[in-house]
Each structure stands twice: as C-alpha cells, then as structure tokens.
C-alpha cells in the first residue's frame, strides 16, 4: 500500500521514503530526511514558516 502523508512536523517524517516540499503550488525541494538534503528541506520549511 502506497501512502501520502501531509504534515507540518518534519521530525516525524524520518521514516518516509521521500519528502516533497510544496510552496505556492510548486515543488521547491525533494529528498529523504536521512540524507544531506534534510538540511535543505528543513531550511525551506523553516523559511516558509518565518515568512508566514
């Protein structure tokens, strides 16, 4: 069974295969939380939250 999770808590997503960051209707980042791209993903989401 495939699964799509919608969440605002990045720390709870360490077990998923892939994380896709959406902003303004477009995909701005994509990767795995365990890889080095996690830093980029966290930065993207944090920046979005600060702007909001």
């Amino acid at each position: 069974m495939a699964m799509i999770l919608i969440s605002h808590r990045l720390r709870s997503l360490t077990w998923v295969d892939r994380v896709i960051v959406l902003d303004s209707g477009t995909i701005v980042a994509e990767g795995h939380m365990k890889s080095s791209s996690a830093i980029v993903l966290s930065t993207r989401v944090s920046t979005n939250r600060e702007e909001g």
């Binding site: 069974m1 495939a2 699964m3 799509i4 999770l5 919608i6 969440s7 605002h8 808590r9 990045l10 720390r11 709870s12 997503l13 360490t14 077990w15 998923v16 295969d17 892939r18 994380v19 896709i20 960051v21 959406l22 902003d23 303004s24 209707g25 477009t26 995909i27 994509e30 993903l41 989401v45 979005n48 939250r49 702007e51 909001g52």
Partner: protein, 249 residues
C-alpha cells in the same frame, strides 16, 4: 493544464467500469501498459474548474502526477506544474507552510476539490451512480478533523462495516498505537465516546482505525490525521498505518 495519472490493474470484472470517454483525449506520454496493468487518468481543467477522471479499473497501484496545474476561476493558482510519482508501497510526505494548499494534490487524486473534506466513509450519490469514481474508492483519505458520532467504539466500527466479526474488530483495536496498556481490548470497544470526553488526539486515533478498517486501500492519504497527537505517538501511529488483514470490504 496537466494530467494526474494512476496505474490500475485490469481484471475481467473491471470491464463494467469502462466508460465511453471517446470525447476525452487520453494523456500524452502515458506509461505503456505492462502485464496486467493499464492506465487511469484524472485531468484537471483549470479553466473550467473541474476534474475529469477516466478509469479502466477500480484497483489502482499508484499515482503519477505529470505537470499538474490547478486553479480557481477567480485566478487563484493552487498547483503549478507539479510532477511526482508514487508507486508500490512507497511512503511520500508532502510538507509546506500552512495555507499553501499542500493537500491539493491528494484531494484531486481522491476526486475531491481542495479544501473539500467530506466524511471518509460517506459515499455520495455521485460515487454510487458513476462507476468512474471507483478509482477514488481505492484511495482512502483520512481528513484532519475526525468525525465520530456519540456511542461506543464498537458502534463506530460497526458503522464502517456492519458485518464485522468480533475478532476483526479486536484486530483493528490492537493495531491502534494509542491504546492504553492498562486498558483491555474489550473495554476499549465498549467505551462510550460522549462519556469519555476524549481530546482531539484520541478521537483522531479512533477515526484513523475506523478508516483503515473500512476497506483495504491501494493508496492511503493521511491529511494531518495525527496532528493533535504528540510527536512520538504521531510518528508511531503513522508508521503503523498498514492495511489490516481483515475480510472487510
């Protein structure tokens, strides 16, 4: 304008689901049918503000979005050129700032407009009449706001399937990640929701279990369905969201 595509199984019994969609052009660049698979498509028409779904079979394997653009007639753009693929048992998380319509993609996949979150078990008249909505039936979406009615957990589970056996209901309860250790399965089943005055987290857990027990979906969409739980419990609950081995359909 783009296409939301899903791969579907082909079974002999699925022929009754095939609809005369000759007036609708098929998506370009679809994956070739392999083995027992064929395609099922959802087209998002931004100008006409509607979602058109073409289906060959009710059983789906995954979802593929290829340059999907969706917006409202007022000019508000919800999705712009979004492409991703979800196949097999893959787990994908969609994250983003609140209010940025992160749930638009799964909402469209479930044949629902964004921001429209009906009861997960409530079958509308349209879905009963039009078999092309059967693809959406294989998509199970657990919404953010759990909807339970007053009564016991047993009554809530029987609402999902009136023919559920005692063992099947217990299996559903055992799959719950938030079941208190001191509480037996039987007592949990007989718990009256109104009397317990559960918080949102408990209600979310109960609604999630009921959703998973209704049918065995090909794609499970959790739309912040555990947002009211604490982080460890939320993670544990999401990870255990596997299809339950029941006879429920």
């Amino acid at each position: 304008m783009g296409w939301l595509r899903s791969i579907a199984y082909v079974t002999p019994s699925s022929s009754r689901y095939r609809q005369p969609w000759s007036s609708i052009q098929g998506p370009r660049g679809c994956l070739p049918a392999r083995g027992g698979f064929t395609k099922c498509s959802i087209r998002s028409d931004r100008r006409r503000h509607r979602t058109i779904q073409k289906i060959d079979s009710p059983l789906m394997e995954g979802i593929e979005c290829d340059r999907v653009t969706f917006g409202y007639p007022s000019g508000q753009l919800v999705l712009s050129d979004v492409s991703f693929r979800l196949k097999g048992a893959e787990k994908v998380a969609l994250v983003g700032r609140s209010g940025r319509k992160v749930d638009a993609v799964p909402s469209l996949c479930a044949n629902r407009r964004p921001r429209c979150r009906p009861h997960p078990h409530r079958r509308t008249a349209a879905s009963r009449v039009h078999p092309q909505n059967a693809a959406a039936e294989r998509l199970l979406m657990c919404p953010k706001q759990p909807q339970l009615f007053s009564g016991t957990i047993r009554q809530n589970l029987l609402y999902a399937n009136a023919e559920a056996t005692e063992g099947e209901m217990e299996r559903v309860i055992e799959a719950s990640a938030t079941l208190a250790a001191s509480q037996s399965t039987t007592s949990w089943l007989e718990t009256a929701l109104a009397r317990m005055r559960w918080d949102l987290g408990r209600r979310e857990a109960a609604a999630g279990n009921r959703s998973r027990s209704t049918r065995q979906p090909s794609v499970l969409i959790l739309d912040e369905s555990t947002s009211a739980l604490d982080l460890p419990t939320s993670t544990r609950s999401s990870r255990r969201s596997q299809p339950l081995e029941t006879t429920w359909r």
